[in-house]
């Protein structure tokens, strides 16, 4: 019987992936980044199983244990409401990761198509989209986000919206620059000569070819967005207590920093490691996927 001959002839794509994988795995720093990110994901998935005091991690206080210094039972100590900081940090990863993923998705989904449209059509459409993005880029992103949260009212949801607004133009710029170089390539011309519609050209020919730098950028930005979310949390504009959030924890621990150092320090270390992990992973990806950056 005749069937689609798909499984007979494979391997081309695979070969390319394997090569990229080779460069990806060759760099020990990338492996470290990957390990950090994977463990972070696992920790946030299995937070309830890993955390020694899951109910405290979620926000139940136990005032009699307040401000215990780190000991064998409570490795990271407890906070001013007697909650286990290790559990809070573990549950905090959930909030941070989820929020960062949502922000990245919003930003990529809005920014990339706009950039492709701007780059592909050029002219007036390009001017309108790019001037809009320039306007937003003219503000410091965190400041703009603070202003937006101030208008919308502080909550995690609003913090995510507030971070998406100043962030999408980066993806628009990236996608636009890629599109402009791709638009002149002959395979796009060939598709136009055949009569393929503009939408299909953008979707089938341009988008897949500009995805690589976008994925790299998104990985790098995960770290920055987690950092910014923590910043908003620190200012009281993001996650609201008792939901665990690294930024909020640092801010709450601020008044105790001289005597109870562990309160602010451990969430800070968590942010540091997370951002480092995503940056290392992003750099490794960029190197593996872009032959020009291979050493």
């Amino acid at each position: 019987m005749k069937r689609l001959k798909k499984n007979f002839y494979r391997g081309g794509r695979l070969k390319e992936y394997r090569r990229s994988l080779h460069f990806f795995l060759k760099n020990p720093l990338t492996i470290l980044g990957l390990a950090i990110v994977i463990s972070l994901i696992l920790i946030s998935i299995f937070a309830s199983q890993i955390a020694p005091y899951p109910e405290q991690g979620r926000g139940i206080s136990s005032v009699k244990d307040r401000l215990l210094s780190p000991n064998y039972e409570r490795l990271f100590g407890t906070d001013n409401l007697g909650r286990d900081i290790l559990s809070r940090v573990i549950f905090g990863s959930r909030v941070s990761l989820k929020a960062a993923v949502v922000v990245i998705l919003i930003v990529v989904v809005i920014g990339t198509p706009l950039g492709i449209i701007a780059g592909y059509f050029g002219g007036k459409i390009d001017e309108v989209i790019m001037r809009m993005s320039d306007m937003i880029l003219a503000f410091p992103s965190l400041l703009l986000a603070i202003a937006i949260v101030a208008i919308l009212g502080p909550s995690l949801m609003n913090a995510m919206i507030a971070l998406s607004v100043p962030w999408w133009p980066w993806y628009t710029r990236l996608a636009r620059s890629q599109t402009i170089s791709l638009r002149e390539r002959q395979f796009v011309e060939a598709a136009r000569a055949v009569g393929v519609s503009n939408f299909k050209i953008m979707f089938r020919h341009i988008l897949p070819n500009c995805l690589t730098p976008i994925i790299v950028q998104a990985t790098l930005d995960m770290g920055y967005i987690i950092l910014s979310l923590a910043g908003l949390g620190f200012l009281g504009l993001g996650t609201q207590p008792p939901t665990p959030d690294w930024g909020v924890m640092i801010s709450k621990g601020r008044s105790f920093i001289l005597n109870q150092w562990w309160f602010s320090t451990f969430p800070g270390v968590a942010i540091f490691i997370t951002v480092l992990g995503f940056n290392l992973l992003g750099d490794g990806l960029a190197e593996a996927l872009n032959p020009k950056r291979r050493k």
Partner: protein, 321 residues
């Protein structure tokens, strides 16, 4: 026989942005008043050096860019008046093969998707039917069906160009623009691809516009040759005539530069002085007069020479002929 493609007084100027304040005040005159026609079943060669407007003509005929002035008729219908459905139907009858086989195939699509794209755009073929058609097309250009799910980077330049040809053939076109299809290939592979192109023409009754800067290649494949210089056609005629008895000084110089594979035969090579003038500031009168070794009269500097009929089909744009 009536012409399949007819180009009338085609002009294409590209505006040049000079600084911020004076946009579009200067133009690159890529194509200047070009007229010609291509008959059904013939191969017309378009030669000239880089930047003389060959590719621009090809792209205009395919309606990839709009001309500044002039018209292109395909099967007696004005190409630039066509809309939607009519345009789609016309596009089906035209194909194109590009110069660079490395950028003309989407690196993220497999061969089945690339060759099948015109089919998906213009027909309802799907799944197995589509695949069989693609296999048929690959067979026509000498590729096996194991290419289907492979990606362009796994093929050599010659094979990629075959894939490009298969894509151009997908909708059974009548007319194909070949834009330097062999200039990016090794000489040995060039010959194979050229022979394939000739073979396909005989089998499928195709009409070609063959754009190239390589005179030997054009002489090998074309029935008629048009020689271009700075956006104008300076001489046009049957391939043999142009190759053996060129009349225009530029055509003479071009053909004298073709190497002859015979050590004993001597031929005087005409060396042109200077560079091609910028297409932004085209010289007055005959655009070739600044480099013409035979220029004598003042008229060359003043007046643009019209195409003069020398013989049946043989036209030259020179005041001296």
């Amino acid at each position: 026989m009536s012409p399949l493609v007819e180009v009338k007084n085609l002009r294409k100027y590209f505006s040049v942005i000079r600084g911020f304040w004076q946009r579009g005040k200067e133009y690159v005159k890529a194509v200047e008043d070009v007229s010609f026609s291509i008959r059904q079943g013939e191969t017309v060669g378009l030669v000239g050096e880089s930047g003389c407007g060959k590719t621009t003509i090809g792209r205009t005929i395919l309606r990839l860019i709009a001309p500044t002035a002039g018209e292109v008729f395909f099967k007696k219908r004005s190409l630039f008046a066509l809309e939607d459905e009519e345009l789609r139907k016309t596009r089906k009858m035209m194909g194109v093969v590009f110069q660079d086989p490395y950028t003309s195939l989407n690196p993220r699509m497999n061969i089945q998707s690339i060759v099948g794209e015109p089919l998906r755009t213009h027909s309802n073929l799907k799944g197995l039917e589509l695949q069989e058609r693609v296999i048929g097309l690959l067979g026509q250009v000498g590729l096996k069906e194991d290419a289907l799910y492979r990606y362009p980077h796994e093929f050599s330049g010659g094979q990629r160009q075959r894939i490009g040809i298969a894509r151009a053939l997908a909708m059974d076109p009548e007319f194909i623009v070949l834009d330097e299809p062999t200039s990016a290939l090794d000489v040995s592979v060039q010959a194979q691809v050229l022979n394939l192109i000739i073979e396909l023409q005989k089998k499928l009754n195709l009409t070609y516009l063959f754009i190239s800067h390589d005179l030997i290649v054009v002489n090998y494949i074309a029935d008629r040759i048009m020689v271009m210089y700075l956006g104008r056609i300076v001489e046009t005629g049957p391939a043999n005539t142009i190759f053996n008895h060129p009349l225009h000084p530029y055509a003479k110089a071009l053909i004298s530069a073709v190497p002859i594979p015979d050590v004993h035969q001597q031929r005087k090579e005409i060396l042109l002085q200077g560079n091609v003038p910028s297409p932004i500031n085209v010289p007055s009168g005959c655009s070739f007069h600044t480099r013409c070794p035979e220029m004598k009269n003042e008229i060359c500097k003043r007046e643009v020479p019209p195409l003069k009929k020398i013989d049946e089909e043989h036209y030259v744009a020179c005041h001296l002929v």
